[in-house]
Symmetry: C2
Subunit: 409 residues, 2 copies
């Protein structure tokens, strides 16, 4: 059961001028399932992305990187589910390229203007013929209002579609930011991938789109973890169509730039957190906030040590305020000169650890009360500086094991 997550209402997903989306059933792996999404972008759009750091990266990720490096005129995105086209070698690359070439021909574009995305089973041959056969239906379906359908079309074992939308006023114009995401483990049972696509009609200097997507990813998709497993296919794309009609944003630290950045981050964070809320077997949504570090990096080390610890995650599942597990995770996070006697810890508003030991006023029932909630914030202060970092994660439940152990059987 997802944690405080609901399917998006289509009427809440504002269209982005210059973006249309079409969905089809291509039968990539299963019949009668929306498994192909084509996104058409108006001429003049700017696209930037961040991709998996996994060295074992999928063929479509390699092709995306090539096309983004070579062309500033991306005009279409094609996403299939059911097959990740990962671990497929030279043949997989050829099939990803053929997908782009076929769609380009149908849309009167160059192959390099198309970005391909695949998510699904690893190490199986991409059935490119089925994807090609589904393209005419997807193209016929193109419409600016199809964000909700597209969110469904990129799902694999997600239990709910994920979409978010914001509008902000910039230069007297309404600017829209709308996006979709998918994923429920960092890598799925056998189905890979976290995908995120966010589009805005903001008018922005093209060279700012890459730093904007990088900053948004670093504070959203790069701050979530379900099981610590990084997919071969993870991708996050930001599209700017420049059609909102306001004066161009030429710096992210201008007032307009900051307003846009904040809205893009809000959409990205909502999409990223939706993935955690729909995490495999998740019953709790956990925010891990580390303060008092010397650097943001060491705060992240401590946050991820807590967020990845199977013992901490099972304690959350059991609603057990098992403080020693959290402290032990901080201790092995890799902060070489950490002084355990300076550690403070809160579970929501409950002060549980002071000077590295149990707070004298702490009562087990107060910790228990917080641990029973569906959403919990763990705050640890390292007592060494002024840096902070927050990551979001979920608990580790019987269902996680069932989903991942039983999927292929």
């Amino acid at each position: 059961m997802p944690v405080n997550l609901q399917a998006p209402r289509p009427e809440n997903l504002a269209p982005v001028a210059g973006v249309t989306l079409g969905i089809a059933e291509a039968g990539v792996r299963k019949a009668n399932r929306k498994d192909l999404v084509v996104v058409s972008l108006a001429a003049g759009s700017t696209v930037a992305g961040v991709f998996t750091q996994n060295r074992y990266c999928a063929a479509p990720v390699q092709v995306c990187r090539e096309h983004l490096a070579a062309s500033s005129a991306i005009r279409a995105i094609v996403v299939n589910t059911g097959n990740a086209n990962a671990g497929t070698g030279a043949d997989g690359l050829a099939r990803a390229r053929r997908t782009c070439a076929t769609l380009a021909a149908m849309m009167d574009l160059q192959p390099g203007q198309v970005l391909p995305f695949s998510t699904g089973v690893i190490m199986e041959t991409l059935p490119v013929e089925r994807i090609e056969a589904g393209m005419p239906a997807a193209l016929a379906d193109l419409a600016p209002t199809h964000w909700g359908r597209a969110a469904e079309g990129i799902m694999t074992t997600d239990t709910l579609p994920k979409a978010a939308s914001r509008q902000v006023q910039i230069g007297g114009k309404t600017v829209t930011i709308t996006g979709i995401s998918k994923g429920a483990g960092m890598i799925r049972p056998n189905m890979a991938t976290m995908l995120g696509f966010v589009a805005t009609d903001a008018v922005i200097a093209p060279e700012l789109v890459q730093p904007l997507v990088k900053a948004a990813a670093d504070a959203s998709f790069n701050r979530i973890t379900i099981d610590g497993d990084t997919s071969t296919n993870d991708s996050f794309l930001l599209i700017a169509t420049h059609q909102a009609g306001h004066a161009p944003i030429t710096a992210l630290d201008s007032a307009d730039g900051a307003a846009l950045q904040e809205a893009v981050l809000a959409v990205s964070r909502e999409l990223a957190q939706a993935i955690v809320r729909d995490g495999e077997g998740a019953t709790k949504f956990i925010s891990v906030q580390i303060d008092g570090g010397r650097t943001e990096d060491e705060c992240k080390l401590a946050a991820y040590a807590i967020a990845h610890s199977p013992l901490v995650k099972t304690a959350f599942f059991a609603s057990d305020p098992n403080l020693g597990r959290i402290l032990a995770a901080v201790g092995y996070a890799g902060i070489g000169d950490l002084d355990q006697n300076l550690i403070e810890m809160h579970l929501d508003d409950v002060h549980v650890v002071t000077q590295g030991g149990r707070h004298p006023a702490y009562r087990e029932e107060d910790g228990q009360r917080v641990m029973k909630q569906a959403e919990i914030t763990v705050r640890v202060n390292l007592g060494r500086g002024a840096a902070s970092a927050t990551v979001w994660t979920c608990d580790l439940s019987h269902d996680y094991v069932s989903i991942n152990a039983d999927y292929r059987s």
Copy 2:
């Protein structure tokens, strides 16, 4: 159910000249349970140890380090279960010191000649009075043949006691190496700690004992992982009583030194692997062997990425040859310039991946056959060099979640 692990037979655990062991029921946490072990070492023994790298280390670990640094005449070891004396601040340190002082007075030693070890609940006050009250019974029980009882006396939620013994001929004399260990997660539900104690009567230059214990730990206890969680109390001690009567070993790379080192390593490895075989919820014993790395360190990165991946571990539980998960773990292990097209992988004798993709001759049923075994070796060749590393782990099962989620409830 432990994987191919049986309780040691006392008659197979050879006494070590100069070492006697006594066990008592001190009622530290529960009544009617062997929870106190005292080990008495003959005068002239040399003791060296390696301890947890966790910055949040327990009070007894801090006291052990102090005493080993200050004295070369360690004469006694005291181990309690039921309470880890971790996360207990200055009061915990005082209680660990008092444990040493009380035992020293009873044995006519100095406090600094006693090493304390605690394992059990974190962040609760050590009931030092109960431990003291149990000491006379433990001292009255001292005998050279009590290795098996001592293995039981240091258990917490281990399902079986763990002990191992070897004898080798050195300089015409029989040299004995016998040891015990405990632990079933790197840190227990709420019970902390991996402990290992190995003793030998070999005659060896005292300054060689520390490098010997370090080398043995690096190839045994430092190569196992159950859940990646490093305890606050992990400790491994090597005791040399020098009573075997052969000419002293003055170099580890001499013939006699190598024979001793090999036997110490064999005992340490058996004790370490026993912990994995008794891992929480374990149904499979997995050896992860990485070859073809440029350095041993990068091989370890890849091995631990595989061994810690919840997705890989659940696949082993399900007997599912889900190769993509293993390849993805190698990909995110942190080897920056890894070429995925050079990866080769075997499951036991089955060649499953070649040149980074599925081997043409690989059939799913062959992978399935291996995955159903209780013991499995995953071999990955990185294709970049001549270095290797092996780690041992277990699968991630429903029982792991149950044990860790339900322990305190």
